[in-house]
Symmetry: C2
Subunit: 430 residues, 2 copies
């Protein structure tokens, strides 16, 4: 992963960071790096995620998925970090299976999905560290019943990924299900390089060791200077731009297969950094598509956005057939890849010409190794940014209120928060 912050410099754009700012910031990066290394050495909560390239065991994952390798469909039942990492990997890579992610509790969607899949050819991976996540467990109960209704032995087709204790761990024990352990100290949004993200990748036929090797390469590149470490360069620049007014970070990969990566990044960034009144709002976009949707705003709206342009430097290509249609002959000399790259560079220059900050992130290829490096790099960037903000990157206390309210509304106990729902202020226009 290479990072180019030339279009984030104050000499080019506004808001921007000056070279003097970067030099000062680099001292903070050195201090933050020491804290991060200490956290990793002690396997502290959260920091432990940055050790996954060393601690995750591909053989354990492979052994757990081997009994299920005759499937043609994978039903991934999880939500948030228990789904997005796996979806990111399997959407980015051409795999063996049809992957269906049940990460919502929409009845029509779940019903339609279950009706469309031959359940006897499906494997279910149910993922929840606590084993109690309401959305995940509800969907799992529905899926299990659908398998029973279809005469499919769900105990032969279910892989459980969960913690050491809880309802799902008990279930795995009772029915002798293949199971994987969610490692300690790894928050969901940092779990893509653990059993949580990698089991789906292994089931889909991808090279888990290569994903981890890419991540190791990024881990080996963590040094105490943003000028030497692409991940830290990204995290520090995003932090500095946010402090100067770029409160929005539009993540814009120029590869259709990385669309889910942008969604993964949005969780990583929002849930890690959005606290204490701080944090940069991530927006997931897609190049070149969203040039025809969001670019007007990014170029001419408020000066509150940095755009992160991501692309692979190598990709398979497809020629555009020659044509005698008037005015279009120039297209016939090129390829879809040429066009996409031209749009990438044109958008980058277009933002710079309007004085709008943007950062270029390049990976070699969208393959196992490239993804491992990119995902680890963005995790490290996020942890660094958290250190610079001075916040706790690894918790998410603000989501608990709503969980208690929802549980109370469903009759799962007495919760004060549920009563607040009934007291909603209304000003309704019909």
């Amino acid at each position: 992963m290479d990072v180019d912050i030339g279009n984030a410099l104050a000499s080019e754009v506004s808001p921007g960071v000056s070279r003097a700012t970067l030099d000062r910031l680099d001292e903070d990066v050195a201090t933050a790096h020491e804290r991060i290394e200490r956290g990793r050495a002690n396997a502290e909560h959260g920091y432990a995620a940055l050790n996954l390239p060393e601690t995750a065991d591909p053989d354990v994952i492979q052994a757990a998925v081997d009994p299920l390798d005759d499937a043609e469909h994978l039903l991934l039942v999880g939500i948030g970090g228990s789904a997005l990492g796996a979806a990111t990997l399997t959407d980015a890579l051409d795999g063996d299976l049809s992957i269906h992610v049940l990460d919502n509790v929409d009845p029509a969607h779940t019903d339609d999905l279950l009706a469309s899949i031959p359940l006897s050819d499906a494997v279910v991976n149910v993922v929840s560290r606590s084993g109690t996540t309401a959305e995940t467990l509800s969907n799992f109960l529905v899926v299990r019943a659908a398998m029973e209704d279809a005469g499919v032995d769900w105990t032969e087709r279910t892989l459980v990924t969960t913690g050491d204790e809880g309802p799902l761990r008990d279930l795995a024990g009772t029915h002798d299900l293949p199971s994987l352990r969610v490692p300690d100290g790894v928050p969901g949004r940092f779990s893509v390089l653990s059993t949580v993200g990698l089991a789906a990748a292994a089931l889909d036929g991808h090279d888990v060791e290569a994903i981890l090797a890419g991540a190791r390469q990024a881990a080996d590149g963590l040094t105490g200077s943003l000028f030497e470490c692409p991940a830290y360069a990204y995290g520090a620049t995003a932090y500095a731009l946010d402090a100067r007014g770029a409160t929005v970070n539009a993540m814009m990969p120029y590869a259709e297969s990385l669309e889910t990566y942008a969604e993964w990044f949005a969780q990583l960034w929002a849930e890690s950094l959005g606290k204490d009144g701080l944090g940069q709002t991530p927006v997931r976009t897609l190049g070149a598509t969203d040039q025809h949707s969001q670019l007007q705003l990014y170029r001419a709206g408020p000066r509150n956005t940095m755009v992160t342009l991501v692309r692979p430097t190598e990709r398979t290509d497809l020629g555009i057939p020659a044509t005698d249609i008037e005015g279009l002959s120039y297209l016939g000399d090129s390829s879809l890849g040429d066009l996409l790259d031209a749009e990438f560079e044109a958008t980058e220059a277009s933002l710079a010409a309007a004085g709008r900050p943007n950062v270029r992130v390049e990976l070699d290829r969208v393959d196992e190794r490239g993804l491992g490096e990119l995902l680890y790099g963005m995790e490290a960037a996020c942890v660094l940014a958290g250190e610079l903000y001075g916040i706790d990157t690894f918790h998410q206390p603000a989501v608990e209120w709503g969980k208690r309210a929802a549980r109370g509304l469903l009759g799962g106990g007495e919760f004060e928060e549920a009563r607040a729902v009934d007291e909603k202020t209304t000003l309704r226009i019909e």
Copy 2:
């Protein structure tokens, strides 16, 4: 469509709008409404889009798609407003066809897609007002060649939607293709209720007249007061919250089938209002999924976000099977719909309890009529907001620079912008 702005009041949240503010704003709404009505009466550029419920002709659309009604797949080739409206309708409604949207120029994606579809069972709808959009025409040339390679007569399977002139209009004439006309005065992002969005809906078997009837209902509800018109209540509240610091608008439908609607809204809002340094940044999210991704930020990050919570008040449901798994028995008494509604209300209350502004939008059902009403309502809200900002809602001048640069890079002529690309400032960390 009903709108509840109770949780946008300054008595409840910050930033918020006071009742006195709303009363003052209502005078501006009355003035803006007069301008909008004048624009509609004169069919002025852009305002003409608000007349589509009256001017769009379902019979013309049906006649154009009838010759193609044996298809099982629809390849929609367009980008931006030429794709998002059609995708919004067909993703929201259960239809007859498998729909594939080619709205990007990613070579791997286009190649994989064409390899996966039996082209003899496919119909292509190529959509570009000018007939020269580089991405759309490139994809169309690739699709046409793939059909020829597969021995499929593309002239029998292509519906053209374009303006009165240009390469696509010429092509339709030369090959006697079924074609539809993009109406005058309707920008792409406001074209869902025209031939641009409705042809795909008709091909997919939906009731176009019911979509327009829902839109007419919303059009009939446009009055000079935000207290009487849900669309204007939404637009005025978003404008007032933006002015008070809610520079981000997170559009969060609680229905999986409305995920593309949020993307459609993001284009509508960004490209219409993002100009002159103004505009509110739309973020597309999804309930309940993104409670496990974005909610931490919205509840505890900077006070710069309003959340728009959208749901249907009626939906098909799916019971959660009873279970004796410890701690989960409360789920077995309910349904996925109950859970989703509880999460909706819990999230809304959770934001309000943290003093964060949010607005509730409800439609009766996600069906043709409900969608027509919702989409028209949001268009009217956007036009009203544009009047309040005092900007030109209907143009998008900032995207032209990049288009010229990309064309120059591909050898499509001499453009100064292409030279700027070569002069990029670089600060690269490897």
